[in-house]
């Protein structure tokens, strides 16, 4: 796929670099020209200075957040893939449980975060569970859709040889759903960092969310911005790494059609 090769070249990335540069300049200039006070909206240079000074601390907490996010991503995605496989294989179970799960998703996870802390205590369990809850349903829905959308003409190839349902599922349905599964993983990767930070905001003793709470109590807006910028960069790196894996998955599980 030449398309993917292109996207890694400098030429393909130049527009993004330029856009970042322009936005950074705009940020710096606007804040200076309008004379916005630092505790309302700090300049970019102030945020960078903050990052430089407390870089070690930020990095430490960022790594904790990203680590938790990775773990949550792993557990949450496995849960949604497993459930999706069961749902795709047994329609009755899907029809019984899917509406309940969708209704459950209407509850804002942020509201539940403090209770997770009370139920499971501060620590890994409550954080990972929160991420799982956040990523489970989107991952599930995308995967279920992919598993059900087995193409009719692909199915015919197996219909004419009267294949058994279990072989059909293993050799046709699951491989055909791989692109959708890749999309589900992409989606949950982006969500998992948010989930980790949300759980930390509600009173965990470390992580990016913890730093944000501390800094905002002290009206230290440059520190809040510095931490959040670091989190954005970290989550971008995590997402890019995941994306590398899912791109390979998409390429490997391609289908070829030729003719009429």
């Amino acid at each position: 796929m030449t398309h993917d090769a292109d996207s890694t070249s400098f030429r393909a990335r130049a527009p993004a670099f330029c856009a970042v540069l322009v936005l950074a300049l705009l940020w710096e200039l606007l804040v200076r020209v309008l004379g916005v006070p630092e505790y309302i909206f700090p300049t970019l240079t102030r945020v960078c200075y903050e990052l430089l000074v407390s870089g070690g601390t930020v990095l430490y907490h960022l790594l904790i957040t990203l680590g938790v996010a990775c773990l949550g991503l792993l557990v949450g995605t496995s849960m949604s893939l497993g459930t999706a496989l069961i749902f795709a294989r047994f329609g009755l179970i899907r029809r019984a449980l899917l509406p309940i799960l969708i209704a459950g998703q209407a509850i804002p996870v942020v509201a539940l975060a403090p209770y997770f802390l009370i139920w499971f205590g501060p620590g890994l369990t409550s954080r990972v569970l929160l991420i799982c809850i956040l990523v489970f349903l989107p991952g599930l829905l995308v995967t279920v859709e992919g598993l059900r959308r087995s193409r009719r003409d692909a199915g015919l190839l197996f219909d004419v040889i009267r294949v058994t349902p279990s072989r059909r599922f293993r050799w046709l349905t699951v491989p055909l759903a791989m692109p959708a599964i890749a999309s589900a993983i992409d989606l949950t990767a982006a969500l998992s960092v948010i989930g980790a930070i949300v759980s930390e905001l509600s009173g965990q003793p470390n992580g990016v969310g913890f730093l944000v709470i501390i800094a905002s109590y002290q009206f230290d807006t440059p520190a809040v911005f510095a931490v959040l910028s670091a989190a954005a960069i970290g989550s971008f790196v995590l997402f890019s790494l995941v994306r590398l894996g899912t791109l390979t998955l998409r390429r490997k599980f391609a289908i070829y059609y030729e003719g009429g």
Partner: protein, 257 residues
């Protein structure tokens, strides 16, 4: 007759069904090749889907006295493995051609037989393709790989829906020979749908000329029995006669409507 069906009717589509196949009778003996000639979009593929037992759920069909080696239609469509070379060849990029055909044999409930696959591939002139992935192959190679896949499950019924898409003249005649030899020696039944009348003439024992919308049988042309594929010269001669006949029949059928 190994396969027979009378007054086959097929309607497609939910809601207001569309009458695609009307009152088609069909009989075919073991080791014989039947070709189906009809205008584009007439419903040849639909008829093949009926004969393969894979009509879509939202379709409707009826027929009289269907028999395939004594099986009724229900048993046939549940039990009998059909070799089908589809118009669109589907291959998965995650396996090489030979892996993919081996898996197809396993999916059919057969023991994998790599020797047979290699023999088929080299017979069709693509011996080198066994370790290729579909993205490394041309359309013509994929068409032949699909043919090999259909024959690799040793079917008693072989259905070929425009199987030579993207193939040059020489490769086509080679494939026709392989198909004809395969049908004669394995004593299976084959039905070929093709727009190339010369292809049909080269290997058929019988050619059915059908009309479109709905597709009805206009004429059956019995050819002199043959075990091998006919020479290009002979096939061209037959094809010309059949073409003249088919055009005449289609025109008069059109004017009657």
């Amino acid at each position: 007759m190994a396969m027979s069906a009378e007054r086959v009717n097929v309607w497609l589509g939910a809601g207001k069904p569309h009458h695609v196949v009307r009152d088609v009778n069909l009989q075919l003996a073991q080791g014989k090749v039947l070709s189906i000639i009809a205008p584009s979009g007439a419903g040849k593929t639909t008829l093949l889907y009926f004969l393969a037992g894979i009509l879509p759920i939202e379709s409707k069909s009826n027929y009289l006295n269907f028999s395939f080696f004594g099986q009724d239609y229900n048993t046939f469509s549940k039990k009998e493995r059909v070799g089908f070379a589809f118009q669109r060849q589907l291959f998965f990029e995650w396996s090489t051609i030979i892996e993919s055909i081996v898996q197809y044999q396993k999916a059919s409930g057969l023991a994998p037989d790599k020797r047979l696959i290699k023999q088929l591939l080299s017979g069709l002139g693509i011996a080198e393709a066994e370790d290729f992935r579909p993205s490394e192959m041309s359309g013509g190679m994929l068409a032949r790989a699909a043919l090999a896949r259909a024959m690799s499950i040793s079917p008693r019924l072989l259905l070929l829906d425009e199987p030579f898409y993207g193939l040059d003249e020489l490769s086509r005649s080679r494939c026709l020979q392989v198909i004809r030899d395969y049908v004669s020696t394995s004593k299976c039944l084959a039905i070929l749908v093709s727009h190339h009348l010369t292809d049909a003439a080269a290997i058929s024992d019988k050619i059915m000329v059908l009309s479109s919308s709905p597709m009805t049988l206009l004429r059956e042309v019995d050819l002199t029995p043959n075990e091998k594929s006919r020479s290009l010269q002979e096939a061209t001669k037959i094809a010309e006669d059949v073409r003249a006949l088919a055009v005449k029949l289609w025109l008069s059928n059109d004017s009657r409507r």
